[in-house]
């Protein structure tokens, strides 16, 4: 990727402004990979000094500068400051693959996470959890671990659902022995002085002693918050695993009266006013 560094940073108001921008604001101007490059460039521009991360208070002060809330699912907000686009209709009996292609796309993040899990020899339950762990961000962002687990729970192995539900909690807690470091991206989006709320702390305490601790932990190990934009990924290599572990309802996702069918219908029709 070639970027004219000075021109690009200047176009956003200079390094100081860029350093203060939140994740969503940057995303309006950049794709993920450009954002990553930009952060590196800002750090370089500061004479080799470590990047200055925002505080929780600074991030909170930005709330009323946006016409949307940070927790809105990606289907409900325009990308890069643009208006939202007309979505292709879903087939009458949609499958998981249909949702990947028509609602979760481009899904680079989850596809790269699952690819890495596959390349490092993880179990199929973990690869499936990696593939699905952030799909619910199309619908909603806060507590996405719990929402995501609920969305998929009727259709996937219990271990995979457990991994999806609790990866959100374990993202806040490094585990050197397992190979998970707290990502610098979290200093940017939560603030460098952020403390997880009590319910996350309590969930972490529960997980530390849980026999399935490593299931969500391995999702965090493969959770590539910053990733290679040029990597070519697709759902195809995972279709066998999906076929073995995802119970596709014959009525189609959203029409099987499962406890999460309404969530799938909302993903299918996010433009419905009520």
């Amino acid at each position: 990727m070639e970027i004219d560094r000075r021109a690009f940073i200047a176009s956003l108001g200079g390094p100081a402004v860029v350093a203060m921008m939140d994740h969503e604001a940057k995303a309006e101007a950049l794709e993920h990979y450009m954002e990553e490059k930009l952060d590196e460039m800002v750090a370089q521009n500061q004479s080799g000094q470590p990047e200055k991360f925002p505080t929780v208070a600074e991030l909170e002060a930005q709330i009323e500068t946006r016409p949307y809330r940070r927790g809105a699912g990606t289907l409900f907000t325009g990308q890069r400051g643009q208006n939202v686009k007309i979505l292709q209709p879903m087939p009458p009996k949609p499958t998981l693959k249909d949702y990947f292609e028509l609602r979760f796309a481009p899904a680079n993040h989850v596809l790269q996470s699952a690819t890495r899990a596959m390349k490092t020899g993880m179990s199929e339950e973990i690869i499936l959890a990696c593939l699905l762990h952030d799909c619910v961000l199309s619908l909603i962002k806060p507590d996405h671990g719990w929402w995501g687990a609920q969305l998929f729970e009727p259709y996937i192995p219990e271990k995979s659902a457990f991994a999806i539900r609790y990866h959100q909690t374990l993202r806040f807690y490094p585990d050197e022995e397992a190979g998970y470091e707290y990502p610098d991206q979290y200093y940017r989006i939560f603030g460098h002085d952020y403390t997880p709320p009590q319910y996350i702390q309590d969930t972490y305490k529960m997980l530390k002693n849980h026999k399935w601790y490593m299931e969500p932990r391995l999702v965090t190990v493969n959770d590539l918050y910053a990733f290679d934009p040029n990597a070519k990924v697709s759902i195809e290599p995972f279709l066998d695993i999906v076929g073995r572990h995802f119970k596709q309802p014959k009525e189609g996702l959203g029409y099987d009266n499962s406890p999460s069918a309404h969530m799938w219908r909302t993903l299918a029709r996010p433009d419905n006013p009520l």
Partner: protein, 142 residues
């Protein structure tokens, strides 16, 4: 000079020559080329791939970033290091873990990787362990 003494001296010379270099894994040549200290570290996989997450050291800590050059031979079995990670020992034999994994290490013939270890400031690393191979770092981590 007796035959035994000659052999002993030759063994010492050979050991010095392979400091920071190891052939402990069949078909894989590894050589530590440098160790740097930094407040930030990129957690790229090995060989460098899609993972570009970064980590930040806390006050009183730093990352000891060990750069290793790899050369893959025809006898190397990709399964040997798949999903594994190196560990490091400091001079007091304390063990450190790196978050950088071997992902598809047989996919490229020659590559270089960086393995960050979160250590207390000033910690000197003594050994890098890659599965059955132990690489002496004392000559490199000065």
């Amino acid at each position: 000079m007796t035959k035994t003494r000659t052999a002993f001296l030759m063994a010492i010379a050979a050991a010095a020559a392979i400091a920071a270099q190891s052939n402990g894994i069949p078909g894989l040549e590894m050589k530590v080329t440098k160790i740097e200290r930094a407040a930030n570290a990129s957690l790229k996989d090995c060989p460098p791939g899609t993972n570009t997450v970064n980590a930040v050291a806390k006050p009183g800590e730093q990352f000891a970033i060990v750069t290793v050059a790899f050369k893959v031979g025809s006898t190397y079995s990709p399964a040997t290091l798949k999903g594994k990670r190196p560990t490091a020992l400091d001079t007091a034999d304390k063990k450190y873990f790196t978050p950088s994994y071997f992902v598809d290490p047989g996919s490229v013939g020659e590559f270089s990787c960086t393995f960050p270890f979160r250590v207390a400031e000033g910690t000197k690393l003594k050994t890098l362990n890659v599965e059955s191979a132990a690489i002496d770092l004392t000559g490199v981590d000065k």
